[in-house]
């Protein structure tokens, strides 16, 4: 046997031993962990995609974005006041704009309306970090189909981070050390895809306080995302699907602190987006008390307020909206 072959065999032996150790030691943990993942926040993507595939008697209003969308709308209210079936596809900003658009595109049908709201982080640093992308793949491996090629380098770079995390979380889930917030679970979403698990819970101020405060946009990243949005719009238009943009509901205080930066992005968007923008950043910025546990996550009342604002701004664009059936103003 050649030395090289002997070496490769020995290396394979070492990794087989580690696989065996993993199998023996971690399997009991993994069984429990599988359950945790299947009921976790990211697993809601399975339900959302299923909802999007459901045949509907009327066209849909598909809401696209990160968690600000998941937390930011009251779909029952939308359903009551617009002649569209709402599907809230919002899940996590960390998935990046390209993933979000790819995820919804196959399920769209002629006549649907799409409202996109991207968190401002989606215009900073491209491609996004791989952690959240791995989490959504872990929840359902079929999500791989929505990955753009541009994510590949960061996914490869962070592959070991993910693997180590799986082992750590597996053990932690069995020992009870894995923190599982009840409002970050698959069952925190209603049938339309809105997060409702936090309704009635008190505000979590520590998490809001720990979030970064400043945005540093890279013009190249902004242009990249705009290009993706416009290309999506082109394809949607060809299928008789109308696309709109609505700003993410950023906390007023944070918006004020980043006024110039956000205004620059807003100006670029108004200049370059090839589909209508329904509002301005300040139209959907609320006071601190309107947020649950993040500068983007609205509480129940604020989500309702934002939904009403969307109904008002979207209605004039919709041929089949019920204008006379105006929602109650808060």
């Amino acid at each position: 046997m050649s030395n090289l072959k002997r070496f490769v065999l020995r290396l394979a032996g070492f990794f087989s031993l580690q696989a065996a150790v993993a199998g023996v030691v971690l399997t009991p943990y993994m069984i429990n962990y599988r359950d945790v993942v299947a009921n976790g926040f990211m697993a809601a993507s399975i339900d959302k995609q299923a909802e999007l595939k459901q045949p509907q008697s009327r066209p849909r209003l598909v809401l696209v974005g990160g968690s600000s969308v998941a937390y930011g709308y009251s779909s029952p209210l939308l359903k009551d006041h617009l002649q569209y079936e709402p599907v809230n596809m919002g899940l996590h900003a960390g998935l990046g704009a390209e993933f979000m658009l790819r995820e919804v595109e196959p399920g769209l049908k002629s006549g649907d309306i799409v409202v996109i709201s991207l968190e401002y982080e989606n215009f900073i640093g491209f491609p996004p970090g791989a952690k959240d992308v791995y989490d959504v793949i872990e929840a359902d491996w079929r999500n791989v189909q929505f990955l753009p090629l541009s994510y590949l380098p960061s996914l490869m770079d962070e592959g070991l981070v993910f693997l180590g995390g799986v082992f750590r979380r597996s053990v932690a889930s069995a020992t009870g050390d894995l923190e599982r917030k009840p409002y970050y679970q698959r069952n925190s979403f209603n049938n339309y895809g809105d997060v409702t698990g936090h309704y009635g819970l008190p505000q979590v101020t520590e998490k809001i306080a720990s979030e970064g405060k400043t945005f540093n946009f890279d013009p190249q990243d902004v242009q990249y995302v705009i290009r993706s949005l416009n290309e999506f719009n082109q394809r949607a238009k060809a299928r008789n699907i109308r696309v709109f943009y609505s700003y993410a509901p950023l906390m007023k205080k944070v918006l004020t602190e980043n006024q110039t930066q956000i205004e620059n992005v807003a100006q670029t968007l108004s200049k370059s987006l090839e589909f209508p923008i329904l509002d301005r950043p300040e139209d959907v910025a609320y006071l601190d008390s309107a947020y649950f546990d993040s500068r983007y996550h609205l509480n129940q009342d604020a989500a309702r307020q934002r939904t009403i604002a969307l109904i008002d701004r979207l209605s004039p664009h919709l041929p089949i909206a019920h204008h006379e059936n105006s929602p109650d103003r808060p």
Binding site: F7, R10, D157, L163, G165
Partner: protein, 488 residues
């Protein structure tokens, strides 16, 4: 591309299998160049152009330096090569430092000028490969080295990916001959390489990256920390930077071995040194020997009057500080080390030990005087690390003041445990890992690296490898975080 990523492991697996399936050395070298440029370009493809251009200039310079006979022309050519290399290094690394310093200096005498600062991106590893390429032209000028037989060999030498970004800084006289001769796969050396890589991964992920957030928090807001906390954070930083940087060298050396190359040892248990001069024989050996051979000795070395010798030492260490970064703090750090080495004879510190001697002596349990000297040297090293790690001179001064004044206040210890608030691991696990690491280094300090346990029984060896593998995977901070020395 960072060593601690899946991308690197995939690249390594593909490169290793392809490399050894190529029979001809010249094609192996071409393949290594391709792999090296992919590795380097993964950060920013534009860096590759600079690396290639720099290589080309020095290859041409080396070619003519070997052929020219007229000393005047040779001096001129060497001068041009030095100006080019140091000019590139100066532009990318030091432009803003000097421009800001000049603006401030002129401003202080009432002459307001706009800052000359430019938005220059520092190409990774530029300090490392510039020093490497300098050895090539200088050694050819000194007639100590034959130029590379062809451009491929030279490109392969300079861009060799394991050590391209953070060393060891390989001399052309050591690495180039290896590039130019046939390489055979060697089983024992490859196994040894894998073991050294495993040790490197453990040091980086399980120790350095777990210490980093604690140190970061303490040094980011020293005002909110007590003196004992800052002293502890400084000790942790000493281990963080050691484990981080020496881990890079271990992985680089191990990787190179898989391709049939030997890189020089870069660390030899520096924290067991009994004097600062011994520390510098054990710490970043490739840089300290480079500075000795290409700066200190040409300045006259120690064969001059004592005052001149002291000046030579100081110049060398100030340059060492400046090499690390364009900041006054690094210069002060170098200056402290230089001053300590100059003053060492005054207190009769041991300076005769070489990197190849067993650090701390041969006894398993050292005697009191050895322990005292080791602790004293470590303390002095930690003092200098404060300047290395602090954001500014004022911050360093604040940290030193707190460390010196607050240990005697009981209140300073009351919230000591809060220093671990940013620790990714439970404090007891982290401290156990650190103590285990120091113990392993002490017990195995007669080896090149602690995981050289080939004489142990096979089951015990495999148990150790398996334990290290799982500690690294389970407790390691796999954050694709770059190595500290990338910034230099």
């Amino acid at each position: 591309m960072t060593f601690t990523t899946l991308t690197f492991i995939l690249l390594l697996a593909i490169a290793f299998t392809t490399y050894w399936s190529i029979k001809q050395r010249s094609y192996q070298n071409i393949f290594l160049i391709i792999v090296s440029y992919i590795f380097y370009g993964w950060w920013d493809y534009r860096f590759c152009f600079l690396l290639f251009f720099s290589s080309l200039v020095d290859y041409v310079a080396g070619y003519y330096l070997a052929r020219l006979e007229d000393p005047k022309w040779r001096r001129l050519l060497l001068g041009l090569s030095l100006i080019f290399n140091l000019g590139i290094l100066g532009f990318f690394k030091y432009w803003n430092f000097f421009a800001d310093s000049l603006s401030r200096a002129l401003g202080s005498v009432g002459w307001q000028v706009d800052a000359f600062s430019l938005n220059v991106i520092l190409p990774l590893g530029i300090s490392f490969y510039t020093f490497q390429t300098l050895t090539y032209t200088i050694d050819i000028y000194r007639r100590q080295l034959q130029p590379a037989r062809n451009l491929i060999n030279y490109l392969c030498y300079l861009s060799f990916f394991p050590q391209l970004v953070a060393g060891p800084i390989e001399r052309a006289s050591h690495l180039l001959p290896q590039v130019e001769r046939d390489r055979q796969f060697n089983y024992a050396r490859s196994v040894d390489g894998c073991q050294q890589m495993l040790w490197g991964f453990f040091k980086k992920m399980a120790i350095a990256d777990n210490l980093a957030p604690i140190v970061e928090r303490a040094y980011a807001s020293p005002g909110g920390m007590s003196g004992p906390q800052l002293a502890f954070a400084t000790v942790l930083f000493a281990f963080q930077i050691y484990c981080d940087f020496s881990a890079y060298s271990d992985i680089a050396i191990g990787t190179a071995r898989l391709f049939g190359f030997d890189l020089m040892q870069n660390f030899a248990y520096p924290y067991f040194s009994q004097s600062i001069s011994e520390f510098w024989r054990r710490w970043h050996i490739s840089l300290s020997t480079w500075l000795k051979d290409y700066v200190y000795i040409p300045l006259g070395g120690s064969r001059v009057a004592p005052i001149r010798r002291s000046l030579n030492v100081m110049i060398t260490f100030l340059l060492s500080g400046l090499w690390h970064g364009a900041s006054l703090n690094f210069v002060i750090w170098g200056g402290i080390h230089g001053a300590l080495i100059i003053l060492e004879p005054l207190w009769g510190a041991k300076s005769a030990l070489k990197a190849t001697d067993i650090p701390g002596g041969e006894r398993r349990l050292p005697n009191f005087s050895t322990v005292f000297r080791i602790v004293l040297t470590f303390t002095l090293t930690c003092f200098a690390w404060i300047f290395f790690r602090a954001q500014s001179g004022q911050t360093a001064a604040l940290i030193i003041r707190k460390i010196l004044t607050e240990p005697f206040q009981l209140a300073a210890y009351q919230s000591f445990g809060t220093i671990f608030s940013t620790s990714p691991l439970e404090p007891q696990i982290l401290i156990t890992l650190l103590i285990g690491f120091i113990a392993a280094e002490w017990m195995q300090r007669h080896k090149t690296y602690p995981l050289q346990i080939e004489k142990w029984h096979a089951p015990l060896r495999w148990l150790v490898y398996t334990a290290l593998f799982w500690i690294t995977l389970f407790w390691g901070t796999w954050n694709t975080g770059e190595f500290v020395y990338f910034q230099f």
